[in-house]
Symmetry: C2
Subunit: 578 residues, 2 copies
C-alpha cells in the first residue's frame, strides 16, 4: 500500500481524552457515523481481520465449528427464551415491511439453540461448540471512548453444548486457555481473567477477561497476597471494624445544612468508616422504597442489591413521599414505610454517626445492637481498597479499573429448557443440554491493544495484529536513487508475502515520521540520500527497542528474519500458557 | 473435522424445487430463521469464508482498500442523498432508544461518501477504491430459492472515486476483469457480463454478471452472431414487420367473449405478431392512466416505461373508471382520458387486429397511419427470441434466464453532488468526484455455484471454495487397521495444511457415500479392510472424473499433488482472462 493513496487523514491536535480514541482518531483509523457507530478505515480493518484470524484459529483448535447467525431475527425466537420481554431498550426492536416484529442480534444464544435443535438429538453428538464472527447491535445508552463502548460492533461469540456439568466445566477450562492464548497472540498477555456476575445471561460461573487500565469502566478487585481476582460486581466485600473500648451514649447533635456523609464526616471530625450512611432505592416493579444502611466508606453494589431483592432497582426519587427525611436518614426513629437492609460492613462497628431523621440533626454514639436491635447483616457493598480478601482473609485487597475484552459463561440449561431443545440420553431420556457461551468484542480489543501499547506519538501495534509489518519511509523520493531503492525494497518484500506500507510522498522527514508514529507499524525502514551514500537503510522499531543500519543488499533477508523473530516472541508467550 | 461431531443433518427427501435450495437444505448447509433469513452451518460458512478470501485478494490486486461500514446508520445520512425518501419499504427503517431515525444498510454509497469526504480533498489522492465485506439487510417482498434471494446477506461492495469520466471508465474495465477472475477462481468461469439498467443506483453505464440457468429470475438477451449481451431490462427491442402487399379495409368483427390477445389471435386465426394489443398502467403518483399499444407477441418492459414517463407505474386497476372498455381496447375511437403510447414493435406493420372499444368486437385490417395517424413510436418492449440484434442487426437474438451474481455501475456524481463531497482540482476548483460501485452477493454466489455444479446426489464444489478439500470415508472403522490408517492419513494431511473431513462413523458404505455426495468435497478417499488388503486407498473425485487406487504409503503426496493440480486448473482459467 502506498500512503499517498491510503484513505484517511492524520493530524496532530488532541481529539479526545481517552488515549486509544484520541490516537485512533488522529491516526485515521475510524470515523464516527452516528452515536456509538463507526466506519473503519483500512488500517483498523486490517487489524480487525488479523485479530479475527487469530480468534478463528484458536476456536478451531478447540474443536469449534464456524457458523453464521443472522443480524436480524424474528422476535418470536426471542419470545421463546423469554428475553424479548425481559431485556430493556438495549435490544433494538422494529417491524419489517409485513409488520412482523424483528430484533437486531445483540447476542445469539437463541440463534445458537435454534440452529442446533433438531440436529443434535442424540448424546453421541455431544459435546460440540459453534461460533461466529458477526456484527452485533446493542442500543447502549452510554456509548463512549471510541471503539471501547459502541452500539454496533463485531463480535466473536461461541456456544458449547454438553451432556453433563463436568463436561461443560472441562470445556470451559479449555476455552479459558484458548482465550489466554488469543490475548497473548494479539500482544496482550497481561489480560487477566476475573470472576464475574452472570447478569442477564443466566447461569452461575462466569469469568471476564480484563485489561487493567485507568480508563476501564469495570472495577476489579484483586488480592495482592493470594492472587484472587473478581469483578467488583461479583466480589464479596469484607471490611474490618475495630470496636472502641467504650460505647458512647447516643447523642443528637446539630449538623445544620450538612447532609452528605462526606460533609457530616468532615463537620463532626469522624472518619468515614465510623459513619453509617443511608442509601435509598426503589424497586422498578412497584416503586416501593428500600433503605440500605452501609458504612460511610463503602459503596452499594447494585448487582448484589438486585440479586438480594430479586428484581430491578433504581436510586429513589421523591423520598419525601415515603415519609423519609432526606439527608438525615438513620435507623433510630425511622418511621418510613419501606424495606430496611443493613450491609455487613456495619457489623461489629461501634459509636457510629448516623442520621436522626430530623432535618439538621444527626446522632453520634450510635451502636446498632444497643440502639436499634440486631439486624440481619447482608453483603451489599462494593469491596474496597485495603479490604479483606474473601479467599486468603488477608487485608490485601486492591481495586483497579479494567476494560472487559472477553467473557465466558457457564450458562446451564436456561436456553435449552426455555426453547425446548433436548437430546436422547444413553438411558433413552430426553434431556436438555447444558450450555456455555464465550464472547470477544473485536473492535474493543483493537482499542484495548492501542490503550495498552502506545506512546505519546501513536499506537505501537504488536506485529501479529499490525495493519502492516513494515513501513518504508522514502526521504527525498524525488531523487532517483531513493525512489529506485524504495520501490525495489517495496516490491521485493511484497514478493515474499510481507505486508508493506510505502511512504512515497515528497514531504519532510518530520511529517513522515509523525505519520508513521500514528500508523504504528512495528518495523520502519528509512531510505534517504544519506543512508544510500553509506550503502545502508536505517531500521528502527516502533517501540524504539531497535535502531540500526542494515546493508541495502541483504535488507530483505534481514527484515524477514526480524519479522519472524518478533512473531515468534509473541507466539512464544502464548505457547507458554499452561 | 470429524463428521461425527459436525453439526447439521443430511437427509434424502426432496425439500425444494430449486436444486441449490434443495441440496443445500438436504446437505445441512443452512437453516431458515425467518422469511429470507438464514443461519449457516459450518460447511456453508467455510465456503463463504473462502469466497470472501478470493474476493479480498482480487480487490486488493486492483488497489482496493478494505474498510468496514456500519450495518445500522442514522437516517440523516440517507437524507443527504435523498434516498431516505426515494427508496420504498425494502429500506428497513426504525427508531433507536432515543427516538432517532435509523436505517439498516442495504447498500453503502452514502457511507462510502461519508467516510471519504473530508479526507480526499485534493486531486492527488485520486483515484482510490474502498471496499467492505459486510452483512446487509434488504426487506425483499419476495424472498425465494434459499440463498438465491434473501433479505439478509453478506455482500462485498466497493466504491471507487475518480477525477474524470475517462479514469472511471479505465478503472471500471479493471474491475470488470477482476470480477471475471473472481468468478473463474470460485469455479464459475461461465458467468457472463451483460449490460444492465442502473435503476435506483443512478448513473448510466452498468453491467451485471450473470450465471445462465433456467431458475434465474433475470432475463438476458444475447446475440448468437456478434456476442451482444444485455439484461432484458436494458436491451433495445427491435423486431421485423414485413408489410403485406395490400392494405385491408378496417373491419369490425364480432369476437364474443374473447378478450385476451391470445384468444383473439386463436379465434381469428391471425398470428400474434399481426395483432396490436393494449396494456394499461397507472402512474403511482396521481393514478392517471397510460395505455401502451404494442405488438401482440411483445411484452412491455416496465423499466423502459418508467424511464419514459419519469415515474413509478403499476398495472391499472378499475380501468372502467377511465372510460376504458377492458378486453377490447384499440386506438380507433378510443375515448378514454389517458396517455396513449405506441411501442416501436408496431412500426411498419400492416393489417393488425386490434380492439374496437366496444364489448364483443375487434377490428381487423387496422393500419396505424391510415386509420389513426402517425404516432411517435417509442421503444417500450422486451426483446424477443429471434428479434434483431441492436448491435449487428442480424435476426439472431436469444433470450435466457440468469442469476445476477455481481454488478458494476458507473455512478457519476449522484452521491458526491447530493452529499457535497468535493476535491480541489489542479486549477483550484472544487469538483465533485465521479464514482463507480461494484457489488457481489456472497451467499447468492454460493447458491449459484451449487446450481451450476451439482448432480442428482449433491453439490460438486470446486476445490477453491469447497468446505474441505479431502473427505476420508473410513469403512468399517471398528476394525483396528482401518481406524489406524484413517486416523494416520487424517493427521498427516492436516499436518501439511490440507483441510480434511473424516467420516469416522460406524455406518454403512451407502449411508456414508450419500452423505459425502451431499457435502460435495472434491476428493474422496475410501479406506476399507478390502483396500488395505491390497495396500491401497481408493481415491475418487466428486465429479467422477477420477477413480483410482493410490498406494497407502504415498497417499499424502499423491493427494497433495492432486489438490495442487485441481487448484491450478481453476486458477489457470482465471489467469487466461485478458
Amino acid at each position: 500500500m502506498r500512503i499517498s493513496k491510503l484513505l484517511g487523514e492524520r493530524f496532530k491536535e488532541r481529539a479526545f481524552e481517552i488515549e486509544s480514541q484520541n490516537l485512533m482518531t488522529r491516526g485515521g483509523y475510524m470515523k464516527q457515523v452516528g452515536n456509538g457507530i463507526y466506519s473503519l478505515f483500512t488500517p483498523a480493518t486490517r487489524i480487525q481481520r488479523k485479530i479475527e484470524r487469530i480468534i478463528r484459529e484458536e476456536m478451531d483448535n478447540i474443536g469449534g465449528q464456524e457458523v453464521l447467525f443472522p443480524v436480524v431475527m424474528p422476535a418470536s425466537l426471542w419470545e421463546m427464551s423469554g428475553r424479548y420481554n425481559s431485556i430493556g431498550s438495549e435490544l433494538c426492536r422494529f417491524k419489517d415491511r409485513s409488520g412482523a416484529d424483528m430484533v437486531l442480534g445483540m447476542t445469539h444464544e437463541e440463534a445458537a439453540v435454534h440452529l442446533a435443535m433438531n440436529v443434535a438429538g442424540t448424546y453421541t453428538k455431544y459435546p460440540f461448540m459453534i461460533y461466529q464472527i458477526q456484527t452485533k447491535f446493542r442500543d447502549e445508552p452510554r456509548a463512549r471512548g471510541g471503539l471501547i463502548r459502541v452500539r454496533e460492533f463485531t463480535m466473536k461469540d461461541a456456544y458449547s453444548f454438553h451432556t453433563s456439568q463436568e463436561d461443560l466445566e472441562q470445556y470451559y477450562e479449555q476455552c479459558h486457555k484458548a482465550y489466554q492464548r488469543i490475548f497473548a497472540r494479539v500482544g496482550l498477555p497481561e489480560v487477566i481473567s476475573v470472576l464475574s456476575d452472570s447478569g442477564m445471561m443466566g447461569g452461575k460461573v462466569s469469568h471476564e477477561f480484563m485489561l487493567l487500565t485507568d480508563i476501564g469502566e469495570d472495577t476489579i478487585v484483586m488480592c495482592s497476597d493470594c492472587g484472587f481476582k473478581s469483578n467488583i460486581e461479583a466480589a464479596e466485600c469484607i471490611v474490618e471494624n475495630i470496636p472502641d473500648d467504650e460505647l458512647l451514649p447516643l447523642t443528637k447533635v446539630e449538623t445544620f445544612e450538612y447532609t452528605t456523609i462526606e460533609e457530616i464526616s468532615g463537620f463532626l471530625k469522624v472518619p468515614m468508616n465510623k459513619t453509617c450512611k443511608a442509601v435509598v432505592y426503589q424497586r422498578n416493579d412497584d416503586d416501593s422504597y428500600i433503605i440500605v444502611f452501609i458504612r460511610g466508606d463503602v459503596e452499594i453494589n447494585e448487582v448484589k442489591l438486585r440479586n438480594h431483592v430479586k428484581g430491578q432497582v433504581h436510586p429513589a426519587q421523591n423520598v419525601e413521599m415515603a415519609g423519609i427525611v432526606a439527608g438525615t436518614i438513620g435507623p433510630v426513629g425511622l418511621k418510613a414505610n419501606c424495606t430496611v437492609l443493613f450491609d455487613r460492613s456495619l457489623k461489629g462497628g461501634t459509636n457510629f454517626v448516623c442520621g436522626a431523621n430530623e432535618e439538621g440533626y444527626h446522632y453520634t454514639g450510635f451502636n446498632i445492637e444497643r440502639d436499634y436491635g440486631t439486624p440481619e447483616y447482608i453483603d451489599l457493598g462494593k469491596a474496597i481498597e485495603g479490604g479483606i480478601c474473601p479467599k486468603c482473609k488477608n487485608k490485601s485487597i486492591t481495586v483497579s479499573n479494567g476494560i472487559e475484552v472477553g467473557n465466558i459463561f457457564q450458562l446451564g440449561t436456561k436456553y435449552t429448557e426455555s426453547m425446548g431443545m433436548t437430546y436422547d440420553s444413553p438411558e433413552g431420556d430426553r434431556v436438555n443440554p447444558i450450555m456455555g457461551c464465550y464472547g470477544i468484542g473485536v473492535g474493543r480489543l483493537i482499542a484495548s491493544i492501542c490503550e495498552a501499547k502506545h506512546d505519546e506519538y501513536g499506537p505501537i501495534w504488536p506485529i501479529t495484529v499490525a495493519p502492516w509489518q513494515v513501513h518504508i519511509c522514502a526521504l527525498r523520493s524525488d531523487t532517483e536513487e531513493v525512489k529506485a531503492a524504495a520501490e525495489k525494497l517495496y516490491a521485493e518484500l511484497q514478493n515474499i508475502g510481507i505486508e508493506v506500507l510505502l511512504d512515497d510522498r515528497q514531504v519532510s522527514a518530520g511529517f513522515m515520521f509523525s505519520d508513521a508514529d500514528l500508523l504504528g507499524v512495528p518495523i520502519r525502514v528509512i531510505i534517504s540520500p544519506k543512508t544510500l551514500q553509506r550503502g545502508v537503510f536505517e531500521l528502527t522499531t516502533r517501540d524504539k527497542s531497535i535502531k540500526e543500519d542494515i546493508e541495502a543488499n541483504s535488507a530483505v533477508e534481514h527484515i524477514d528474519n526480524l519479522i519472524r523473530k518478533l512473531v515468534a516472541d509473541i507466539n512464544g508467550v502464548a505457547d507458554s500458557i499452561k
